[in-house]
């Protein structure tokens, strides 16, 4: 192997770049920015019209004016985000930030964060920080915080999701018998076990109506195989897929892509199907009625999103946005060159119903509520492409 490294290093050294590389790049950047400004004007108009005509009604109904409520850690007009000073609540009008959890000198401790339905609580996963840069340094795991303080729920797990209809948090953690899926009520501090499996639970997702939790679990008899289950808290889980090797051992959950933190399991908006991104079988769509799953694409997308009408799924592929029919069909690529920058808070609002991961390398994707735009994160920015 070392020989091959040396051979390639010698070959690599044969290439030399002309001087003035920085100046050439600067000129190219100027040309590109000029073209982007033109495209941005067009897409900006589309966004404004879309919001004014279609989206505004929906957004108003989701965010009705509320009296000042000191029990809310995320107040009206604020979003939870990763800011310059750790995890912050940012006023989207003034830009003012309130620090909620701090780790000043290290960019990576907060890997996933999300506010509960009404903003009374936030949850976040932190990794154990080995730098002396904050009070999170010895405590990686799931944290839940409110205005009165915070508490750590379990150590080390990334798998959790706020209910879309209540303040309950579904989360996974180790138990004596394996892995436990449980609910946590931050107001009372009560924990309620939902199910325990001998293997792992690598993914979970609430149904849109908040009644059911879908999860992926290793089967007891065949630990290398996984099945998808659905469960109503307090009832018996129901398996909806046969055991299958969904994830390769060397590139399963916990890879760089998975650690980037996108939804791997997501309900369709009407709650009749699940989409699951696997490293072995690609993206599969599973009807909840057990009528059989279908492979939609045979690759493993880093992220994906259902369209609001549930007919299509968008995913990222090498910087482009790709749309594929949810019941299978030919994927359609939308060139990233057609994209324009979009207000990140607008995209945040669209994505708020999903677990809001910290996107360390970009690649997040979300549809506008009216289905006319798809926003995607690129690096630390958000861009959008028109659909159709």
């Amino acid at each position: 192997m070392r020989d091959m490294h040396d051979v390639l290093e010698r070959e690599s050294a044969r290439y030399a770049i002309r001087s003035g590389a920085f100046e050439r790049m600067s000129r190219r950047r100027d040309r590109k920015q000029r073209n982007q400004r033109i495209t941005a004007t067009i897409v900006g108009l589309t966004v404004a019209i879309g919001i004014a005509v279609v989206g505004s009604v929906a957004l108003r109904s989701e965010r009705e004016p509320q009296p000042a409520d000191e029990t809310r850690i995320i107040r009206e007009g604020e979003v939870l985000e990763f800011g310059d000073d750790g995890l912050v609540a940012t006023d989207t009008t003034t830009g003012d930030q309130r620090t909620l959890a701090r780790c000043q000198d290290c960019f990576f401790p907060f890997r996933k964060y999300s506010a509960s339905l009404d903003g009374r609580w936030i949850a976040y996963s932190s990794i154990t920080c080995h730098l002396s840069c904050g009070d999170e340094k010895r405590a990686g795991g799931i944290w839940v915080a409110g205005t009165a303080g915070r508490r750590i729920l379990v150590g080390g797990s990334w798998r959790w999701a706020w209910s879309p209809t209540t303040d309950q948090l579904a989360f996974t953690g180790d138990s004596e018998d394996g892995t436990e899926l449980a609910l946590f009520d931050p107001a009372s501090g009560d924990r309620t076990s939902v199910v325990t499996t001998r293997g792992g639970i690598p993914a979970l997702a609430w149904s849109p109506d908040g009644s059911t939790i879908a999860y992926v679990a290793n089967t007891r008899s065949e630990p290398s195989r996984s099945s998808v289950f659905v469960v109503r808290p307090g009832a018996t889980p129901m398996r909806i897929t046969e055991p299958s090797v969904l994830f390769s051992a060397s590139s399963g959950w916990g890879t760089l892509e998975a650690m980037n933190g996108f939804d791997e399991l997501a309900w369709s908006p009407d709650g009749t199907r699940l989409a699951l991104s696997t490293t072995r079988d690609g993206l599969i769509v599973i009807p909840i009625d057990g009528s059989g799953e279908r492979t939609v694409i045979d690759q493993h997308p880093a992220s994906f999103a259902w369209s609001p009408d549930g007919r299509q799924i968008a995913y990222g592929d090498a910087g482009d946005v790709v749309i594929v029919p949810a019941n299978g069909g030919t994927p359609v690529h939308i060139e990233s060159d057609a994209s324009s920058p979009i207000d990140r808070y607008l995209a945040e609002r669209w994505i708020q119903a999903r677990a809001n991961w910290f996107l360390s390398f970009g690649g997040g994707i979300v549809w506008s509520p009216d289905g006319t735009l798809i926003a995607f994160s690129e690096g630390l920015d958000w861009k959008a492409v028109p659909v159709g």
């Binding site: 290439y15 770049i17 590109k32 290290c106 990576f108 360390s360």
Partner: protein
């Protein structure tokens, strides 16, 4: 160790300090990235374009990216994402037209082609990328797979095929 620092440990070039200016970062990293991309693309003009695009993406938000523990890792991942995109487009374009000749005027090759470089040039782009990412830069199969959007087993297979071809060319060169 964060994933960024894991990547950084695989990059032989010096890691830029977080407070370095973008121009300093460019100066310290662009030659190495260019050479790596030359091996992967086999087209210096394309390698420079990919290099420029990768740096431009970092430049757009340099105030935030400079604060990353490992901007170099971010740079390489960005470059490989761009390569994936361009490779896929090239496959599509190749079905429609002949490939344009590389523009030789923007770069200079310091030596003529060797048997090894001929062998590298004859490899499919994915094989070149797999062997460069794993054997030269030192990424694991998992990491390279994540960058190229394939499975780790595919990376191992691609790199193995590339090694066989390169070793064959070395024998030919020695005979």
């Amino acid at each position: 160790m964060t994933e960024g620092s894991v990547i950084a440990s695989k990059i032989p070039a010096g890691v830029a300090s977080t407070d370095a200016s973008f121009e300093d970062f460019f100066e310290s990293e662009h030659r190495t990235l260019f050479r790596r991309m030359c091996l992967i693309t086999d087209t210096p003009s394309e390698a420079e374009e990919l290099m420029q695009d990768a740096f431009m993406k970092l430049w757009e938000r340099w105030d935030r990216i400079a604060a990353l523990e490992d901007p170099t890792g971010y740079l390489y991942r960005t470059a490989m994402n761009l390569f994936r995109k361009r490779y896929r487009h090239a496959v599509v374009a190749a079905r429609r037209s002949f490939r344009a000749e590389p523009q030789a005027d923007c770069v200079a090759l310091v030596e003529a082609r060797t048997e090894v470089s001929e062998a590298l040039a004859s490899l499919p782009p994915r094989q070149r990328a797999a062997v460069v990412l794993t054997d030269l830069i030192g990424f694991s199969s998992d990491e390279a797979a994540a960058m190229l959007g394939v499975r780790p087993g595919t990376i191992r297979s691609l790199a193995s095929q590339a090694r066989s071809a390169i070793r064959g060319s070395q024998k030919a060169e020695g005979s």
